[in-house]
Symmetry: C2
Subunit: 126 residues, 2 copies
Amino acid sequence: MITFSKRRSGIHKKASELVTLTGAEIGIVVFSPSGKPFSFGHPSLEAVANQEHPNDNTHLLVELTAKKGKETQPHWWETPVDELKHQEPLQMDAAVDLHKTFLAKLYEKPAATSSSMAPPMYFHHK
Amino acid sequence: MITFSKRRSGIHKKASELVTLTGAEIGIVVFSPSGKPFSFGHPSLEAVANQEHPNDNTHLLVELTAKKGKETQPHWWETPVDELKHQEPLQMDAAVDLHKTFLAKLYEKPAATSSSMAPPMYFHHK
DNA sequence: AGGCCTATATTTAGACG
DNA sequence: CCGTCTAAATATAGGCC
């Protein structure tokens, strides 16, 4: 648990460095062994994308449903994802195991500014 | 660019270690400065979750639309996210900048087995 | 791009406050 | 939980294939 905390910060730091050094964009979601979620990502979460994952023909649709209170929480990644909410397991394919996981997609504008990178990033938890 | 590659592997390795050492679950999506997407994650992508991000009242719905060809690509994270597909920018909120970003959520079953962790993980790209 | 190398810088575990 | 400290383990840049 202490190891988790330390290493989580480590990865977080590495991710920050990757962003500042190379201008890449990154998003990470981690769930601690105890189930606490932590999210982190580079630009800001302003819109989301929908993209096909060709190799397994998986199509993921990420949809932003509500957006308010933005002024007080400008950067979503500065906040913990907070409690998990259970819901009925999706019956897509029961092949592997009990774990349900995720995938995230990003969509970048054609000639978008690659600036706005690397505001100091934090990894909070609750 | 060489730095990006090396550090990307580094983060990937750290993520693997975090998983093996602590049993955490993690998912990462990185976009190289040139725009190439790389994904990585711990368990497998079998289902996805929908979860509220309380602090900014953002609600993200991640939906798995299609799932086939699984036999040949058992682990989604072993494959690159591949080419980005452009689509109309979402008009959710134009506040920040041109970048569109993402967020991912994970959903774990109540008393799920925390086993099945740490198969060697790879970071591919195209 | 990936692999191999080596010197240097960083991270880590573990103990402690 | 957060800091601080330490020795030991690891990541990194940069050169080279």
